[in-house]
Subunit: 213 residues, 2 copies
């Protein structure tokens, strides 16, 4: 079988990909101002479900950008998401990315309390004296804990990117976050992942800054 490769220069591959995505989306309705986030999620997953499942709280994009400009840090629930976020661009605004999942104190507290490490990570984040964005791509228990901390008035994040993936309490944990007054970007349903969490962070950063180097 003869296989024909499309002749696209390395620097043009992403541009061409976004053209194809835009073309195939056709007139699918997207929330104005969120198009680049939705398209980047599709680019990351080749899954057009993200055109329908991504939910945005009011003016969340502006609020998120403002928080990043003010030096907000990102807390994630996986090393994979941390690895995927463009830390160089974030650092231009003074922000850093944190993941506490491999920390020994987190493992000890999780064991002691019979909770997940992701839950213990959220409690650890609470001790940080910084503006915080949470990018949760794996653990619904992290979202549940964030919800509790918000309801208790202990935490007031700048943004929650709520995109854990999976089958146990994933749908519910996202619904909880959408009931808070905290700005959110949530992938309704079961889908999401560390790649999607990182991708949404990067989409925001690239909307602010076209120079990614």
């Amino acid at each position: 079988m003869k296989i024909d490769l499309e002749n696209v220069k390395p620097m043009d591959i992403e541009k061409r990909s976004f053209e194809i995505i835009t073309e195939e989306l056709g007139d699918t309705p997207l929330v104005p101002g969120t198009e680049l986030i939705v398209k980047r999620c599709i680019h990351t997953s080749a899954d057009f479900d993200y055109a329908k499942n991504l939910c945005f709280s009011e003016n969340v994009v502006e609020k998120a950008m403002q928080a990043i400009k003010e030096g907000a840090c990102i807390v994630t629930d996986t090393q994979m998401a941390k690895s995927g976020i463009n830390k160089r661009v974030l650092s231009r605004y003074g922000g850093e990315v944190y993941c506490f999942m491999s920390d020994e104190d987190v493992a000890a507290i999780a064991k002691e309390n019979g909770c997940t490490r992701a839950t213990a990570c959220m409690d650890k984040a609470l001790t940080m004296d910084k503006k915080l964005i949470f990018a949760i791509g794996n653990a619904p228990t992290a979202l549940v804990r964030l919800y509790e901390l918000i309801q208790d008035g202990k935490l007031s994040p700048e943004l929650i990117i709520g995109v854990p993936v999976g089958f146990v309490n994933v749908v519910q944990s996202k619904e909880l976050i959408m009931q808070t007054n905290v700005p959110y970007i949530v992938a309704k349903g079961r889908k999401g992942g560390s790649n999607i969490a990182a991708c949404i962070c990067n989409a925001l950063l690239y909307m602010m800054d076209n120079d990614r180097g």
Copy 2:
């Protein structure tokens, strides 16, 4: 709105997730011996398409396990995939994970040759004197280069996990790999990703070793 959380202990979440996946797969036909790989990909993505798009060369699972037992190393095309692979379990067999994407020499060669960094990474892997498994979750150009190196008789990998995601030459690059005589696990079509690449590596490792700690 009242939201009911399912009461599942942290240590039981994955088990419960796999039960739900098995239940929903019903009698979907899967290649015998590959079930745990397919289910883990669905677990990672909540996308049941992986029950249909994953393609396995003959006896690839046995061959992959044998290679890992013999100390094969894994080369990936993203730091995210590297970050997601269980390096502790792999190291029990003597293997390590490599990603050259951030290497300065790779960036320089890519610029000089007008190729992608992923292509240059595959050339760099060629200089390694080790049994190699390639886990490609992002760059179709990496798969195209692997195909060329295999056709030229310069490279003979133990396994290619060919799961780049995207819209430009992704479908074609996977078809090329499936035309070689190299053992492969490929997600036919556009879907895949660094998470899926890492997940397939981990599925193989966990099938060999139930103790992940």
